[in-house]
Amino acid sequence: MSEADQRRFSIFVSPLRGVLDPQGQAALGALHSLGYDEVEDVRIGKYIVLTVRGGSEERVREMCEKLLANPIIEDYRIESESG
């Protein structure tokens, strides 16, 4: 399989709106104490990069639903680039 058949997917997993994000809250407090009062909210998530043979976005979505994100507490967004 040549590299031309590879595709890279970036997956951004973030806490669902309305779900408490203790890490984001801690970072928000720290930014305020540094004087960055303009910051109104911080949400901290995960950034996952997949290199996939063939590269079916549908299957990547399936991977997110099954394993990479927990839909009860997390949301995700997929961005793809041709390899």
């Binding site: 779900v19 408490l20 203790p22 890490q23 809250q25 394993l67 927990n70 009860i72 507490i73």
Partner: protein, 230 residues
């Protein structure tokens, strides 16, 4: 009664559970490696605490796909007793055998200390030996025990009696101060709708002998024995 203690790569409380079941309760017990799929002959499964698969991605997220989990699902569907302690609870949540999910503790700290727990429902295989409203003293040790579920689901669970243990003060008062991790409605332990699957963050196996400072964990183990007619 025959117990199976499931061992995932990264479990670290399996020996404590095995010890309590064999030496303190005097019951039969064997380890079940996560690659096994034959659970015949077992009456109760224990998913112990630890850091299965390094807690990578999310706690329990990878362990739930271990080969043994398919067998655990069948075992639970047939009404078999399943208890998940700490990381075991997280695995049961990720597997969908219990409702809801876990978030990081609101303090962002790993919390390791004794807590008080109020028994909210004694009409379960796990709490029959306790009184309703009884306060148990059992330790917790976790970084992600901040239980969450939708408000509608929480109301349903309350109505069905699925909330089994709540963090409380020494006299049983359920207050924000008694909540060690930010858990919704001070929840420390829940059951599925059939009450045969139980998940809790506290470690009953660490409170089953006088020398460890509390024997309140025995209420849970002995309730399970009684439920199985032992």
């Amino acid at each position: 009664m025959r117990f199976g203690v499931i061992v995932f790569p990264g479990s670290n409380c399996e020996m404590d559970c095995h010890y309590v079941i064999e030496k303190v309760l005097g019951q039969e017990v064997r380890y079940v490696w996560h690659q096994e799929s034959d659970l015949r002959g077992l009456d109760c499964l224990v998913l112990p605490g630890g850091f299965s698969y390094g807690d990578y991605l999310r706690c329990g997220a990878i362990a739930r796909f271990s080969p043994v989990m398919e067998a655990v699902r069948d075992f639970a569907a047939r009404g078999g007793l399943v208890i998940g302690i700490c990381n075991g609870f997280q695995i049961l949540l990720e597997a969908g055998l219990l409702p809801g999910a876990m978030l990081r503790n609101n303090s962002l700290s790993f919390v390791c200390r004794f807590v008080h727990l109020r028994v909210e429902n004694r009409d379960t295989p796990w709490t029959g030996k306790a009184e309703r409203g009884q306060v148990l003293r059992i330790p917790i040790a976790h970084g992600e025990g901040n239980y969450t579920a939708g408000e509608g689901l929480l109301d349903e669970m309350e109505r069905r009696g699925q909330i089994i243990l709540r963090y409380c003060g020494p006299a049983g008062e359920v207050t924000p101060e008694a909540n060690p991790n930010g858990s919704a409605r001070n929840i420390a332990g829940i059951c599925n709708e059939g009450f045969n699957v139980f998940g809790l963050m506290p470690h009953p196996e660490r409170a089953s002998e006088e020398i460890l400072g509390s024997t309140d964990g025995l209420f849970i183990w002995e309730s399970a024995l009684a439920a199985a007619g032992v």
